[in-house]
Amino acid sequence: MGEAAVFFLHGLAYAGLLFLVSSGLTLVFGMMNVLNFAHASFYMLGAYFAYSILRFTGNFWLALVISPIILLVIGAFVERFLLRKVHVHGHVHELLLTFGLAYIIQEAVKLLWGTTPMAMPVAGILADTVNLFGVVYPVYRLFIFCLSALLGLGMALVLFKTRIGIIVRAAVDDSPMVDALGINVPLVFMGVFAVGAALSGFAGVAAGPLLSVFPGMAGSILVDAFVVIVMGGMGSLGGAVLASFIIGELQSFGVLLFPDFSLALIYMLMALVLVLKPEGLFGEKQ
C-alpha cells in the first residue's frame, strides 16, 4: 500500500509538469488552430529566465512571477509581428514559422547561456520533505502538482465563467460576427497566444529545479507534450488533464510493474486511443 502510494505521487507530480507544458500548447491550438512547434522552446526560455532571475535575486517566487511575464510579452510579440503576417498563407506557413522559431531560440539559448547544464537550487520550504500519510515526500514535487492544478483551474474559470472567456470562445466559433460586434478579434488572438506562451513559462520555471536547465530540454519535453495533446484531443483542456494524468501514472507504475517496456506502454496506449477514438479522448469530431 505504502509503495503504491509513493508511485501514485510520482505519477501525479510528473502529470502536473506534463499538464503545465501541454496546456498552453492545446489552448493555442484549440483557440487559434495553430500548432506551435516553438512552444517547448518557450518552456525552455522560461526555465533560463528563471535561472538568471534566481541567480541574481536568489528569490524563486520572484522568478515564478517574472519569467512567465517575460514569456507573455514575447508571445504577444511573436503573434503580432510574425504569426499574424503569415496567417493569411495558411497552416503550413504557420507551422514552418514556429518550427524555424524553435531553431532560432535553441541557438540563441546556447549563445547566451552556453551548453553546460545549470542547476536551479530552491531553498526553504520547497527544498523540504513532508510526511504525507506515512510517506516522506519532497515538497517540490507536490508544489509542481499544486501549481499545475491551480493554473488549470484558473484557466477553466476564465474561459467558462468570465466575459473574457465568452469573447474568446465566441471569436473561435465565429470571428466575423464577434468582429462586427466591435470587439478587436486580432487583439483577442494575440492575448490567447501570449497566455499560451506564459503558461509554458510557468512550466519552465517549475521544471528548472527538478530537471536542470540545459539546451536539450525543449526537445526532450516536446514529444511528451504532443503525446498528451494528441491523446487528450487536440485543443481540449479537459483532455490534456486526463491524458497528463494517465501518462504520468503509467510512466510511474510502468517502471514498477513492466520495467522492460514502460516506455513502449505509453505509445501503445496512444496508438490504442487513436484507433478507437481518432479525435482523442475529449476531442471534437471534425
Binding site: E3, V6, F7, H10, A13, Y14, L17, K110, G114, T115, T116, P117, M118, A119, M120, P121, A127, T129, V136, Y137, P138, Y140, R141, L210, L211, S212, F214, P215, G216, S220, I221, Q251, S252, F253, G254, V255, L256, P259, L263
Partner: protein
C-alpha cells in the same frame, strides 16, 4: 639608416633562429571533437587538454625537433562529416595524426578512415570496448580506459567495501548494458556474497527518476552502480536525495566538476564513488607539477576530460619520439609495447589490441577539497592495472589485418 639596417639584420637573425628551432618541421595533430552543438562543452574540454600538451611539448623543443601543430576540427558528432573533414586534411594538408574522444560512432568511422589512408587515430575518451575488440585496427590506439576497465575498477571498490546488496541502474542501450554486464561479472568473481538485488535500464534522457529511485529504495540496496552520463547522471543523483535514498552511488562519470555543479546539492553526492584513469587527486609529484603548470597557463584546473586528453597526447608524443620520425608505420611500431610514466602512473600500450594498460583511480566525493568550493573527489586510490584488464584472448580482437 645604420639603425634600420641593424634592426633588419636582427629581425633576419631572429627569424633564422625561430625556423632553426623547428628544423624538424611540424607534426600536425587534428583533434576531432564536437566544437558546436549540444556536446560543445565536452569537445572544448578535450581540446584544451590536447592544446596544453602541445604547448608543453613545444616549450621543450617539440618532438624530435618537430613543432606540434594542433588543428581543431568540429566533428559535429556526425561520422560522415568527421571523415569528410579528415579526408580533406589528409589530402590537402598532409595530416597523418588524428585524435578524438567523443562519440563511438565517429570513432568507428575514423578508425576505418585511418586504416584505408594509413593515418593514425588515437582516442582519449571513446570507451566502447569493441573499438579494441571486434573492430580493432592496426591504425587505432586507445590511450584511455574502456568500459570493462571502469566497471571492473568499481567492482573492486564495491567488493573491498564489503557491500552485500547492489542495485545496477543504466541507460537502455549497448553501452549501459555492457557496463552493467562487466560490473556484475567482476563483482561475482571478487565477492560471491554480494548480491545484485535489482537491475533497471531506463531510456536515455529520462526526466523523472522518481519511480526508479523508489525501486532502489524498496530493494534495500546499500550501493547503486551506474554508468549514466550527462543529464541521466545529474538528474538521477539530484532527484534521489530528496526522495529519501540513503544508498551511495558507484559512478562512471562523477569525476566531473560540471556534473557536480549541475546537481547543485553537495549532500546528494557526498560519499559516492568516482572512477577514472585520471583525477586531480592522484598522489605524486608528476601530477602536482602537471596541475600547477596547467593552472598557470589556462587559469583553471585540468579536470577530467582535460587531463585525459593531455595524458593520451603525451603518450602519443612519446611514441613519435621513440619512432624518431613522423612516418605512421614507424610510430605504430614504436607505440606497441611502449611505456609512459606520467601523472597517472605507468601506462603501457598493449600490442595485441592497442589498448593501453593503466591503473584505474577511484575516489570518494568529499566536501573539503583544495580545488573547488563545492564537493569534489577526495584522495584517489589506485586499482592496479592487472585487476582491471581483459586478457588479450578475451577481447574479441582477432589480430590486425
Amino acid at each position: 639608416m645604420r639603425k634600420g639596417l641593424l634592426a633588419g639584420l636582427a629581425l633576419l637573425l631572429m627569424l633564422g633562429v625561430a625556423s632553426a628551432a623547428w628544423a624538424g618541421g611540424t607534426i600536425k595533430l587534428a583533434v576531432m571533437e564536437p566544437l558546436s552543438g549540444t556536446f560543445k562543452d565536452i569537445g572544448d574540454r578535450y581540446l584544451e587538454g590536447v592544446q596544453y600538451a602541445a604547448e608543453v611539448l613545444n616549450a621543450k623543443g617539440g618532438i624530435n625537433g618537430m613543432k606540434v601543430e594542433v588543428i581543431p576540427v568540429d566533428s559535429e558528432l556526425k561520422p560522415a562529416i568527421a571523415t569528410r573533414k579528415a579526408t580533406k586534411l589528409i589530402m590537402k594538408d598532409g595530416v597523418k595524426y588524428f585524435c578524438g574522444g567523443t562519440g563511438s560512432s565517429v570513432g568507428g568511422a575514423m578508425v576505418q578512415l585511418a586504416k584505408t589512408q594509413n593515418a593514425l587515430f588515437f582516442t582519449y575518451g571513446m570507451a566502447a570496448a569493441s573499438l579494441t575488440g571486434a573492430k580493432c585496427s592496426s591504425n587505432f590506439f586507445r590511450a584511455c580506459a574502456n568500459t570493462d576497465n571502469q566497471s571492473y575498477a568499481l567492482a573492486v571498490w564495491v567488493a573491498q567495501k564489503g557491500f552485500k546488496k547492489v542495485f545496477c541502474l543504466a541507460q537502455d542501450y549497448s553501452f549501459g548494458k555492457e557496463a552493467v554486464a562487466a560490473f556484475t561479472k567482476k563483482l561475482a568473481e571478487l565477492n560471491p556474497q554480494a548480491k545484485v538485488v535489482g537491475t533497471a535500464l531506463h531510456p536515455i534522457g529520462t526526466k523523472d527518476f522518481a519511480p526508479y529511485v523508489s525501486q532502489i529504495i524498496s530493494s534495500g540496496a546499500e550501493v547503486v552502480f551506474t554508468s549514466n552520463w550527462g543529464s541521466d547522471l545529474t538528474l538521477l543523483l539530484k532527484q534521489a536525495k530528496p526522495l529519501g535514498l540513503k544508498a551511495k552511488f558507484a559512478c562512471y562519470y562523477l569525476n566531473d566538476d560540471n556534473a557536480i555543479t549541475a546537481i547543485a546539492n553537495d549532500d546528494a553526492v557526498l560519499g559516492s564513488q568516482a572512477v577514472e584513469e585520471y583525477m586531480l587527486t592522484i598522489p605524486g609529484k608528476a601530477n602536482e607539477e602537471f596541475i600547477a603548470g596547467f593552472k598557470k597557463a589556462k587559469g583553471f584546473y585540468p579536470t577530467w576530460l582535460r587531463g585525459k586528453a593531455y595524458l593520451a597526447t603525451m603518450f602519443w608524443a612519446e611514441a613519435v619520439k621513440k619512432a624518431g620520425s613522423d612516418k605512421v608505420d614507424a610510430v605504430i611500431k614504436a607505440w606497441e609495447g611502449l611505456t609512459y610514466d606520467g601523472p597517472a602512473g605507468k601506462w603501457t600500450m598493449r600490442a595485441c589490441d592497442h589498448q593501453a594498460l593503466m591503473p584505474m583511480w577511484t575516489a570518494t566525493i568529499v566536501a573539503k577539497n583544495p580545488f573547488f568550493k563545492h564537493a569534489y573527489v577526495g584522495p584517489a586510490t589506485m586499482v592496479p592495472s592487472e585487476k582491471v584488464q581483459v586478457p588479450c584472448k578475451d577481447t574479441g580482437c582477432k589480430g590486425f589485418k
